[in-house]
């Protein structure tokens, strides 16, 4: 598997706080849009189609298992 699922974030707690903060004062539609735009920005940064596919597959499987 090419997707890195081991700890890799330089500042995990700061990141998480920022992620929640990104949605502050946004209504539901704005939040959804912000998430979608974030995914697109990150996807372009990653670039590699296979890695992106692995991540999307993992996310879908994780939801279906719940």
């Amino acid at each position: 598997m090419a997707l890195n699922t081991t700890p890799h974030l330089t500042r995990p707690d700061d990141f998480y706080e920022f992620l929640i903060e990104m949605h502050r004062d946004l209504d539901e539609a704005q939040s959804q849009s912000a998430n979608a735009q974030l995914i697109l920005l990150l996807a372009n940064h990653i670039g590699d189609f296979n890695i992106l596919c692995e991540a999307m597959t993992l996310a879908r499987e994780s939801v279906l298992k719940q």
Binding site: Q32, S33, A36, Q37, I39, L40, L41, N44
Partner: protein, 564 residues
């Protein structure tokens, strides 16, 4: 004075089959349907020396502008069919497309960013002109017989021929052919009569086409709006056509009433919302359509070969309908001609089906993706679509995701069994299966185009840098020129000065790559050799000529299945 191709009517004439005293003949090929695809196939076959009967149930050309975008590849094909110049002259050339979100330009693209091609990326031309020009070309060919008001109402396959029952104003008759090309459109009667179907996905959306005649200030570009202020929450496409006609395509949504939306009372306010109240215009043609992306499982059924909309259907975004149909015709014609002449096995026709099914899948995939972007089918699909559009105006990366139609380019038939895989190292786009690209060249000190020199037969394209060819090369080229089948030779001089070896190879065409673009586009060096099929797809290539290897590749391209 322009000919009005929309009002032309053609007369029914009794044919030889309707004369009781003429013995029944079996024609080599019957083409059903005189649309762009049927006409192209019939002309191509006739030009290759095959006797063709073309039957059509109607007696007119296209009503309304219908398919208006004809791609470079179609123009290259029309050039070989002898009517490319008329199409290009009458058509409106364009290369630039612009995409707007609301009233803001998101990005613009150039479909043919490089120069050095004879034909533009696209011309816009009403389908009735395309059919009219093709028909006038067809009428110059003595071995092409057109039968109007001749409706196929029965199809029967026999072991050595197909028998069609043809209904005419003067009664029915049996028409026999060795092969039938069914180019009879999306609702193909031949397909239905054979109990076959075309399967896929129908999109729940309606679109309004309004062709308006006006003196407009818009540039000759493809303009696409997502959610414009004059037609909120839907998409709009604006496109220029000859004779000061503009195509406006309004997305209406699934709930729109198609009959009501066609009335001038509904159409005129929509057009005025786009053009403003002061612009004077005249409605020329209005249509409301829905579309499906579908195809037949197999394009070949014994001696019946399906082409164009009869075989496959796409959404209009991407102009992949008529353009892919014309490529079907191009792919099929040389194969049928060679099979009928006994120069290739019947199995070569299987490759028509395989190659064009592959191309249809590519077209359907592209057109489905465009449709899903333009008319998102779920909340989350809409969410991402809008996110892409919002990012696109500020970030270049998102522009590559904006999909208002991936416009027609020829399929690269990279998996075709007719190809001989590369043995030598090459880079660039001209891999086996690709359609040959154009380049400016000089022939007899006159400017010319590489594609125009190639013709409609198997061709060897040889690149050389020295003005004199050595004896070994001349011998190899001679052997190929005199082989079976004989290769047409085009020698491209990629060095300085002019080639002086013309006398060594009578019949060969000598051109000079004065801008170096042929060399670049074909990744050619001194001695590089390309084998091109009659439809100008690359069949194989080498860094140097080896006669046995070329001949083996040629046999393979003829469907004789030589192993690698």
């Amino acid at each position: 004075m322009n000919t009005d191709y929309q009002t032309m009517e053609f007369e029914f004439q009794r044919c030889s089959e309707q004369n009781a005293y003429t013995p029944a003949t079996t024609h080599p090929v019957i083409v059903v349907g005189a649309g762009p695809v049927g006409l192209s196939a019939a002309i191509d076959l006739a030009q290759q020396g095959t006797q063709v009967v073309l039957v059509d149930d109607d007696c007119t050309l296209s009503t309304g502008s219908r398919a208006i975008c004809f791609a470079k590849r179609s123009l290259d094909i029309f050039d070989r069919l002898g009517c490319g110049e008329r199409m290009a002259e009458k058509g409106v050339s364009w290369n630039v497309g612009k995409v707007f979100l609301k009233d803001e330009l998101v990005y613009s693209f150039d479909l043919l960013p490089e120069s050095g091609h004879h034909r533009p990326a696209f011309i816009n031309l009403q389908q009735y002109y395309v059919e009219g020009f093709l028909l006038e070309r067809a009428r110059q060919l003595p071995n092409l017989e057109i039968r109007w008001k001749s409706k196929v109402i029965g199809v029967q396959q026999e072991s050595e021929r197909v028998t069609l029952t043809v209904e005419t104003p003067e009664g029915n008759y049996a028409l026999h052919g060795q092969y039938v090309v069914a180019a009879d459109g999306a609702r193909s009667p031949v397909r239905r009569l054979m109990g076959l179907d075309s399967k896929g996905r129908t999109f729940k959306d309606r679109f309004l086409i309004a062709d308006v005649k006006m003196q407009a200030e818009f540039p000759v570009e493809r303009w696409f709006w997502f959610d414009p202020p004059f037609h909120p929450n839907q998409s709009v496409l604006l496109h220029s056509q000859p004779d000061n006609v503009w195509r406006i395509d309004f997305q209406l949504g699934w709930d729109a009433d198609p009959e009501l939306e066609k009335t001038p009372e509904r159409v005129i306010p929509r057009v005025k919302a786009l053009l403003g109240n002061d612009t004077e215009f005249e409605l020329q043609w209005v249509s409301v359509y829905t579309f499906s992306c579908l195809r037949m499982d197999k394009f070949r059924h014994g001696r019946v070969l399906f082409a164009g909309d009869a075989a496959h259907g796409v959404s209009p975004f991407g102009a992949r309908g008529a353009n892919s149909g014309i490529q079907d015709a191009e792919n099929l014609a040389w194969k049928l001609a060679l099979v009928l002449k006994g120069k290739a096995p019947d199995a070569l026709l299987d490759s028509y089906a395989e190659e064009r099914e592959y191309a249809a899948d590519e077209n359907i995939r592209n057109s489905t993706r465009s449709t899903d972007f333009i008319t998102p089918k779920s909340t989350v699909s809409r969410l991402f679509r809008d996110a892409v559009l919002q990012l696109a105006s500020r970030h270049s990366f998102a522009r590559q995701l904006v999909n208002s139609g991936r416009l027609s380019v020829p399929a690269v038939l990279c998996d075709s069994t007719l190809n001989t895989p590369d043995r030598d190292g090459f880079s660039g786009r001209m891999m086996p299966g690709a359609a040959a690209v154009d380049a400016p060249v000089t022939a007899d000190s006159h400017p010319a185009w590489l594609l125009s020199t190639l013709g409609q037969t198997f061709t060897g394209l040889f690149f050389h840098s020295s003005p004199e060819l050595d004896a070994r090369t001349v011998m190899a080229l001679c052997a190929l020129q005199q082989g079976n089948p004989a290769l047409k030779l085009v020698l491209v001089h990629i060095g300085g000065g002019t080639a002086s070896c013309c006398n060594d190879l009578p019949g060969a065409i000598f051109v000079f790559d004065h801008e170096g673009l042929a060399m670049q586009r074909y990744d050619a060096r001194d001695g590089s050799f390309y084998l091109l099929r009659p439809d100008q797809h690359v069949s194989a290539r080498w860094r140097e000529i080896e006669v046995p290897a070329v001949q083996a590749a040629l046999q393979r391209a003829l469907g004789k299945g030589v192993s690698v």
